[in-house]
Symmetry: C2
Subunit: 458 residues, 2 copies
């Protein structure tokens, strides 16, 4: 009655390497008492990053607003005056509290705040109606892809990519149109590679509709220049493609001289009016609130009748979780200079970002120093994507075999590059650079020994 | 590039009346300053039901666990000793806190607690592996239906039904196989009506795979007897159907002598081993924590290889929100007799349930007393489903026209029965009985006047 043959075959096709067999093996070893290091997923608080005090003070007050009448006691326990005031303001904006369903698109005052945030960040206009709050950014991707995918609809995705995209395309029955990122040029997008991917797909009858761009990039760590984004937008316009801009790492830019440019702002500058869906999340940046599942999707140049259909689809699931909605609000409304929380907030934020930058460089250098591995220092996001020389392995992609060996030998969990896609004949791993700084030197020594052992035994 | 013609046509087909045009009209009127009464949706805290103190104390502590070291101050602010201890225990079980992604299926200690809850409730065995925590029960429905629906796959749904089911079937491209509930026999399931629906669908080549049952029922307020559930299970077994048991109202049973029986327990008693998916949620019962989006799906008699595929699909969305996960844990682990929180918890719970029972009866009686309307008192869930005599209206279903008139005249928002399905030639409305008790007499007077006015003018 129920077996693999009776399941929707798209379910069987979908793959999601970030939580695949390597992770299952690691969880098994952990149950047996082994120490495991989760380099496989951008989950900062699992790896010791503390939450921001300001955020958690306010969320705790909103979960039990009766305590707001005990200001003195709250202050004596370390709560900041502005946290208490912000919690009171949020209660005024949303008097029903966290326990009621919100509007399907999210609480109106938060959607307005997101619109204001985008306006100020990019110096462009933005409307609350075009913003849907979501349980993390993934749900925004699901919404767009499930609504536009039909048979033979093609979605251009970068290779390497974040495997949510390939998994969703499989689940919804669409066609992947993979374009390679240019590893020799800092993983930027390359017009010829885009054209080649588009043309080959179109030639086989695929109706290519949308181009996914991840900037700053997961897994390569690249940060796109304005010039590169302009090229992509012109390419999309020429081929009548919509853009899905995954911009969840917009706060994770580490190099002096680099900057985050949103696709919405660059398109606005060029006067290009193609539909653009932009994603943001509370899970990344210096916030790292993965478990709260906050985020939003912003739509531009989307006809009103289509926006209403997307809203209807959102309404079937009622609303995203209210704590995640509030977290999204706090992410875009940090304390201001002069507020009692400001100094601590800034200190915590700067510490997290500085540590990420240091760790990115320390791990990249350690990996790059190993003969047979090359690993540039990531300029953005939370990941390294080292290239490894690996021997051919029977019955398995070499990177998968090595990732398995690595977790068995060292407890270090990585994701084989084949889960993200890579140029044939090259092998990579995806690793976060989030593990605690004091553990990294030993872990890198273990990594090196495991790599050398793997090479020798193969 | 993007318009209604280029969207997936399944999106256009999907309807979700609970948040449809009547609600939009109400929101518009509210913006203009009109007082609006949301009888359309089971959203208790929006209508003044307070959250349970125990739950919110613990959630607030877990959001800011640094305050756990200030026990004395917490106690002096009204926190209960056992809330503080439970929060500490949860931190021990899940030391990474709320900010980290959990395992895809949810935190292991909570899944074990759910398994223990089911075992104790039903005196049957249950396994944590078969439990996935979800963002409300809706996401469990999405998971099952999206995984088994393919072209020509039929899903049996009750008429009237909760429109999540019809919407999902449309979105995923399946076929609705509607079976009528027996209005003349307290809306129970009727074997002949089930057979008729199944046979007619099968005759047109539909591959009927799953039967949805909602018990206690939304929108009819019925509570199924063990005998009726046994009939349904035997019917399902005879026709090789899986069961999706929507049991989110299991705590909402109001009549002496009625009891909630889970499909899992009744199947166990009969020795029937068909796949059963059972849903529960933090949004309903006396909990009413809709905004937190907590819930779970339990699977029985599902082959391991299928369970792993469903787990993979869940993993693509990473995990459900952690606050909702904790809320689910607290729902199934209330304070025990003798705990400092126990008396208050019991008082709050009893007050909520007693008020629901009273309101169900007051509203039903008020409606039933209106000439042209019949409305039995609901025995369970949170809704009334009155049957109304209505004149024929040009260009509109009569119930839709009346619901529109009603909100314009009185601010009372209801959902037309046509959004849930009803026997042709009959008209109904779905209304919650959650609005504040002191407002109900006036609102019912307004309802009556609007109904009489509508009849006269038509």
């Amino acid at each position: 009655m129920l077996n693999l043959d009776t399941l929707n075959p798209n379910v069987l096709k979908a793959q999601y390497a970030v939580r695949g067999p390597i992770v299952e093996l690691a969880q098994e070893l952990e149950k047996q008492g082994r120490e495991i290091w989760y380099f496989n997923i951008g989950n900062p608080q699992q790896l010791g990053q503390p939450p921001l005090t300001y955020v958690r003070e306010i969320l705790s007050l909103l979960n039990n607003p009766t305590v707001l009448e005990h200001s003195e006691k709250l202050l004596s326990m370390g709560y900041h005056q502005d946290s208490i005031e912000t919690a009171r303001n949020i209660m005024n904006e949303n008097p029903v509290g966290l326990g009621a369903y919100s509007q399907s698109a999210g609480m109106p005052f938060i959607r307005q705040a997101v619109a204001d945030f985008i306006s100020q960040r990019d110096n462009i206009s933005a409307s609350a109606d075009n913003i849907f709050l979501t349980d993390g950014a993934s749900k925004g991707v699901d919404l767009v892809l499930s609504s536009i995918i039909m048979e033979r609809v093609g979605i251009m995705i970068p290779i390497p990519q974040y495997p949510l995209y390939s998994a969703d395309i499989s689940l919804f029955g669409g066609t992947q149109v993979p374009y390679f990122l240019d590893e020799n040029n800092g993983w930027e997008l390359n017009k010829d590679m885009l054209e080649k991917a588009y043309t080959e797909a179109a030639a086989t009858g695929v109706d290519v509709k949308l181009l996914v761009v991840i900037n700053p990039n997961n897994p390569t760590g690249s940060v796109l220049s304005r010039r590169n984004i302009e090229m992509v937008l012109k390419f999309a316009k020429d081929h009548k493609l919509m853009i899905l801009a995954d911009e969840v790492y917009q706060e994770n830019v580490y190099e002096e001289g680099d900057a985050f440019y949103s696709f919405a702002s660059v398109a606005d500058g060029l006067g290009i009016e193609i539909p653009i869906f932009s994603l943001h999340s509370t899970s990344k940046g210096y916030f790292g609130e993965c478990g709260l599942r906050g985020g939003y999707i912003e739509m531009r140049n989307v006809p009103e009748e289509v926006r209403l259909e997307l809203l209807k689809v959102r309404s079937i699931g009622l609303c995203s979780n209210t704590v995640g909605q509030i977290a999204t609000y706090l992410m875009i409304n940090p304390p201001k200079k002069g507020d009692p929380s400001f100094e601590l907030y800034k200190k915590e934020k700067d510490k997290i970002l500085a540590s990420m930058k240091r760790k990115a460089s320390i791990i990249a250098n350690a990996l790059d120093a190993i003969e047979g591995i090359s690993c540039p220092t990531p300029r953005g996001a939370m990941y390294l994507f080292p290239k490894l020389d690996l021997p051919e392995i029977e019955d398995s992609p070499a990177d998968f075999a090595f990732a398995k060996f690595l977790v068995e030998e060292t407890g270090i969990v990585t994701v084989p590059g084949s889960g993200f896609g890579q140029l044939p004949g090259t092998w990579h791993l995806r690793m976060t650079f989030l593990p605690p700084e004091d553990k990294i030197p030993d872990l890198m020594t273990n990594f090196k020994q495991a790599y050398q052992k793997f090479i020798q035994k193969s």
